[in-house]
Subunit: 368 residues, 2 copies
Amino acid sequence: MIDGASHFKLLQKSTECSARLGELETPHGKIQTPVFMPVGTRGTVKAMAPCELEELGSQIILGNTYHLLLRPGPELIEKAGGLHRFAGWDHPILTDSGGFQVFSLAGLRKMRPNGVEFASHIDGNRFFLGPVESAAVQRALGSDIVMAFDECTPYPCSYKDAEKSLELTHRWESVSREQPLKEGQQMFGIVQGSVYPELREKSAKFITSLNFNGYAIGGVSVGETEEEMIHAMDWTTPFLPEDKPRYLMGVGTPRQIYEGVKRGIDMFDCVMPTRLARHGTAFVTGGKTLAIKAAKCREDFTPIDENCQCYACRNFTKAYIRHLLNVNEILGVRLLSIHNIAYFMDLMSNIRKAIADGTFIEFGKTLI
Amino acid sequence: MIDGASHFKLLQKSTECSARLGELETPHGKIQTPVFMPVGTRGTVKAMAPCELEELGSQIILGNTYHLLLRPGPELIEKAGGLHRFAGWDHPILTDSGGFQVFSLAGLRKMRPNGVEFASHIDGNRFFLGPVESAAVQRALGSDIVMAFDECTPYPCSYKDAEKSLELTHRWESVSREQPLKEGQQMFGIVQGSVYPELREKSAKFITSLNFNGYAIGGVSVGETEEEMIHAMDWTTPFLPEDKPRYLMGVGTPRQIYEGVKRGIDMFDCVMPTRLARHGTAFVTGGKTLAIKAAKCREDFTPIDENCQCYACRNFTKAYIRHLLNVNEILGVRLLSIHNIAYFMDLMSNIRKAIADGTFIEFGKTLI
């Protein structure tokens, strides 16, 4: 069971807004915040090797409890010595609770008081996941940061349904909080409350009263508008303690990350860089995107982004990567994944520098 | 047009057999032979990045004229500055003539006196490839070693058909020999003759009379028995000059490569390491293969091969790679490709060392 202590050092507060620089200590090393966490759903950040993530400066990656529970199973990973050793990643890992995927991916769900019974989306096998089971899986995985098990409130959602869902979430997170973990593992609580300010406030107050090692804002990046995402932050952060890290789940675009940092968020995760890479899309200066398969790239013998120093941009042209994508060669997706992760790592590094220099708002103007 | 000079230095002849150590000079660097050339069909060795091939000691890669003619087309690659610059590979490249794929992959072929009219296997578009066109494409690609355009004799083949095919091959290669190439480009002739010793002898004598920069043995690795492949070498090599490199096309297993080196072959190429990687199979010590998806690897937390020092074996276990293959994660194929290429590079390096040390025959006993 966690002791609820803070492992977060607030290094500097922006003079311009609520942005902050911090350092989060974990058993696998310190993390400079604000930080973006590439998503390694099934024990690998898609198309990337750990050495490439290290070279690009990735400090922490995310693993998905739901996917790893299904395949290869927590028993195997525990036998391998935990997820870090299994996946050859000796730096921090955050695992989610699996709740979000149970509600978005799994079939034939049955809500029970203590969790959810569901069918695997792979083979229909039945599983049960609740606060007790989720913590047990994450304990077996040995992640540095464990997430409490909540119900991700759907969107849109009536006030009454959101209130009912919040009650369940609070009960489940109270149970999560008490589960045994491995030495050094931290647990973050998740604030829900949908688009309703009074529920967000109520949730933030209750969840922080449980004294987790950090706090996440959930129920964002589920289909709501960007304005509603920003509201969710504005209604929550005032009730979060300054000395604990804050994590905006599943977000987002470079602009959304900027807006989050501006409101005092320290941690982000999103599948966007690797997913867009698989769709042939690159992030370029200013947070814009570029479809490499477009005809205009056919004879473009310049790098994806002249300002980028990643392996893809140092060595290959848009025309070559377009060719690789057109003939379905793996190297095409690899190079775009490397570039997109590099883009997000550079973005966070520039954001941290801008906060330190007092030029954060100015920096925001460079992003679409 | 090539001058037919030798760019090959014979460094050492084995005291045990016909094996030899040599050095082949090209515009993109020197190659230590015997050498294995990984196949980069469409401008990329499947699943690998150039930096990984370099790290593993790959000295030269192969590109396929047929595939590159179809997509992205030689015009685009020439505009990019040639295949080396297009693909980010600053070391030697050998391109085949396209003939083999025209006969094995393309649809609706029509034989013409000066080449073959065929339909692309991708979209049915019509193309024409003969000795003139093949050399023009390879000139545009700018490969270091260009192959003459021949007809790859099918297997099995009657004496009469083989004789007729050989006549065509000789005519086409005579035309190939006269085509204009770029400064420094070499051209290799190809000896055919199917399984008939007198045709192999006839072909070797005729093709060497044309004075190419090197000689390939073709029509092997087309479905014939291993014994017939060895016969093809035994019937050809006595008629090849010592001071030019010899290339056994499309071969092969570690054992077949050993048998080739033993008979004085200097160069090999084969899709086997990367193709087997995509099928989940690894090469291990002794030239054996191991199916990583096999149940026995499920909880095997040791590297693919304890004797291998590649990135995959230094950092990951069979259990992890098996998991990646089971869930179709690209990293699984990447790690197996790295390992299999490493296996072939180590094999050639051990072969070269054994020739130098006079222990080549002894080394052969370690291969199944």
